[in-house]
């Protein structure tokens, strides 16, 4: 997995390329928490290039989301493919996060 970052003021897009598996999830969570501590208030997680997400990857979304919520910010999801969408549907993730077709759309709000 590699993570591409695009920062624009207090907005940050993290694009996950490859597998957000049980190994990569820690790396994602730590990066997200670090950027939140640096002042990011809108975190867009872009799944356009994501080939796999496991349960640890879902947990890695919850923790930054809780942190941002306590600071008045939010985490949103973008560009879900069918498999990732199915996984997020059955895990209840879709009830908890706003979902956009693309990160550009997410940034427009």
């Amino acid at each position: 997995m590699t993570i591409q970052e695009h920062r624009d003021g207090e907005s940050l897009v993290l694009s996950i390329e490859g597998k957000l598996d049980n190994v990569a999830s820690d790396e994602f969570r730590e990066l997200a928490l670090k950027r939140i501590s640096e002042g990011v208030s809108l975190l867009v997680v872009d799944f356009a290039q994501t080939t796999f997400v496991a349960s640890m990857g879902i947990r890695a979304l919850f923790i930054p989301a809780k942190e941002l919520k306590s600071r008045g910010g939010r985490v949103v999801l973008a560009a879900l493919n069918r498999e990732v969408r199915t996984l997020f549907l059955v895990s209840g993730v879709l009830d908890l996060f706003p979902v956009y077709n693309s990160s550009a759309e997410a940034l427009r709000g």
Binding site: S55, R59, K66, T86, V90, G92
Partner: protein, 139 residues
Amino acid sequence: MELLKTFRLGAELAELNAAGDEIAALLEARGAETLPVYAARVALEELGTNVIKYSYPGEAPCWLEVRLSADDERFALEVEDGGAPFDPLQAAAPDLTLPLEEREIGGLGVHLVRQLMDRVEYRREDGKNRVRVERRLRE
């Protein structure tokens, strides 16, 4: 069902990923659609991680064996380990109705496996834990 491949793995999460790649390729060669292949990867990752985390709490060397079988319609993954008795299906289902800040995260992996697979079974046999999951290759 025909046995396609047996994997014998150590306690490394990275080994699960490599096996997952190979299982995906074998299932694709059998004509599996994208979502069933994805489900197989999720099952391997979650069940394998459970074994590494829960079945070998002590110093014993950790191993797990994964068997992939298929016929024209279905595939099965069997994950076996020689660790302490552990039935992942007994893990409490997560409460998906709770708001984010009250969510407990335990049990989510097994919940995903149950949702994505047609059948999930656990047996304790011959001093081993055996979890078998089965799914259609196509919708």
